[in-house]
């Protein structure tokens, strides 16, 4: 566990020193939510009906902004190859890095979601389910995104490629996440979807670091 903590602290320090970069996805989310609210001003009813879906799509898109830089800086300054060389179990610092990534980008979205949901005219009874669904769903988003980021880290201008690669993988999260919020708010059930999201996150946190490790090895070999 020492290596997980070591890497987590290092990432956290880096994010604190590159704050504008770390806050980028959250600011993007706030802006786009506001744009939607402005564009559909006067149609509160329609907006309210689609708000959960809109919010999830915006969360998925904003996550791409932070994922692109997740491994790039370490790749370019050479510390990424040192992780693979020096750590006895590279899996551990990699998972530390991914957890830090989620704590810095997924968690703030969860915490901000009641406020942003209100901007999107979500009814008050849907705000709790929204935060809950995001809490159990965003780890999958971060983990799958990290696999994509590790694959394209050696590719110049890999950002566009990253979107094409990981957005299709997000579809189950989007479907279950939206259904959970709508179902719980309408009282027609949605607990099962929350369980599904939680199960996917547990699976992703367990398996994605292995995939990231393999992807980084390939990227470093070609880099």
């Amino acid at each position: 566990m020492g290596l997980v903590r070591l890497q987590f602290q290092r990432e956290w320090r880096l994010l604190a020193r590159a704050r504008s970069e770390a806050l980028n996805p959250l600011v993007f989310l706030i802006m786009t939510v506001t744009l939607f609210a402005l564009a559909l001003d006067g149609q509160a009813q329609a907006l309210s009906r689609y708000a959960a879906g809109i919010f999830w799509v915006l969360v998925l898109l904003s996550s791409l902004l932070s994922l692109d830089g997740m491994f790039r800086r370490d790749f370019e300054d050479g510390s990424l190859e040192q992780i693979l060389l020096l750590a006895e179990v590279p899996f551990l610092p990699i998972i530390g890095k991914m957890l830090a990534q989620w704590a810095a980008t997924g968690l703030p979205v969860v915490l901000m979601s009641p406020l942003l949901g209100t901007v999107l005219q979500l009814p008050p009874e849907a705000l709790g389910p929204l935060a809950g669904a995001l809490l159990v769903g965003t780890p999958t988003v971060s983990m799958l995104g990290a696999v994509g980021a590790a694959l394209v880290v050696g590719v110049r201008r890999g950002g566009a490629l990253l979107g094409l690669l990981v957005l299709p993988l997000y579809i189950p999260v989007l479907i279950f996440g939206t259904a959970a919020v709508n179902g719980l708010a309408a009282g027609t059930g949605g607990v099962a979807q929350i369980y599904w999201l939680a199960a996917m996150s547990v699976l992703a946190v367990t398996l994605a670091p292995f995939a990231v490790h393999a992807a980084l090895k390939i990227s470093l070999e070609n880099g």
Binding site: G2, L3, L6, R10, R13, L14, R17, A18, R73, D74, E76, D77, G78, S79, E81, Q82, I83, L84, L85, L86, A87, E88, P93, L220, E221
Partner: protein, 192 residues
């Protein structure tokens, strides 16, 4: 005697490009091998093969875990020198006190840089700090890719001293370089 690297009939290609063929090499405790060859003949790739970062080769290769210094210094620009070095010590399974870090930096006369962020270092200072991490990692085998890049004469002499001490205490060094290396015990030409 402890053998750190043993290579027999190593052939390496990069894509369709054959770099070298049939390379034999043994590196034991106390050896300092200087890897030589023209640009693009595969010196760096040979080191990356031994480090385990490049797998596209034929032939037999066994190597101990190593400390590898590549073209990139592996220092995070936003962290201070001390934070960078402490991370390295932790990553390789140990820990470094402030005293260990000060001692490592002192061998390269870079003690005054300890609180500086890596992005505020000059190219030569950057390289010195990157070299200063080697003793902290606790590996017997060092693979150095162009260790003298960006160093002044004083820095070059200090690196020679570092390598000499390491080999004298039972370690082994392999360095790809174009400079005249006074401390090497053998040469390995990749393009002959």
């Amino acid at each position: 005697m402890t053998v750190f690297v043993s290579i027999q009939g190593l052939s390496v290609s990069r894509g369709r490009n054959r770099l070298f063929e049939g390379l034999d090499l043994t590196l034991s405790a106390g050896d300092c091998v200087e890897v030589r060859g023209a640009n693009g003949t595969g010196k760096s790739t040979l080191l990356r093969c031994i480090a385990g970062l490049y797998q596209d080769f034929q032939g037999e290769l066994t190597a101990e875990p190593c400390a590898y210094l590549g073209h990139n210094d592996g220092l995070s620009a936003l962290l201070t020198v001390e934070e960078n070095l402490r991370w390295y010590a932790g990553l390789s399974g140990g820990s470094a006190s402030s005293k260990d870090i000060a001692a490592a930096l002192a061998t390269l006369e870079a003690s005054h840089l300890v609180r500086r962020q890596a992005r505020a270092l000059s190219a030569g200072q950057h390289r010195r700090v990157a070299l200063a991490r080697l003793p902290l990692l606790g590996h017997k085998l060092w693979l150095l890719d162009e260790p003298y890049t960006a160093l002044d004469d004083a820095g070059t002499a200090l690196v020679d001293g570092l390598i000499r001490d390491h080999c004298a205490s039972g370690g082994a060094v392999m360095a790809a370089t174009h400079a005249d290396m006074s401390v090497s015990t053998a040469q390995c030409w990749v393009d002959r």
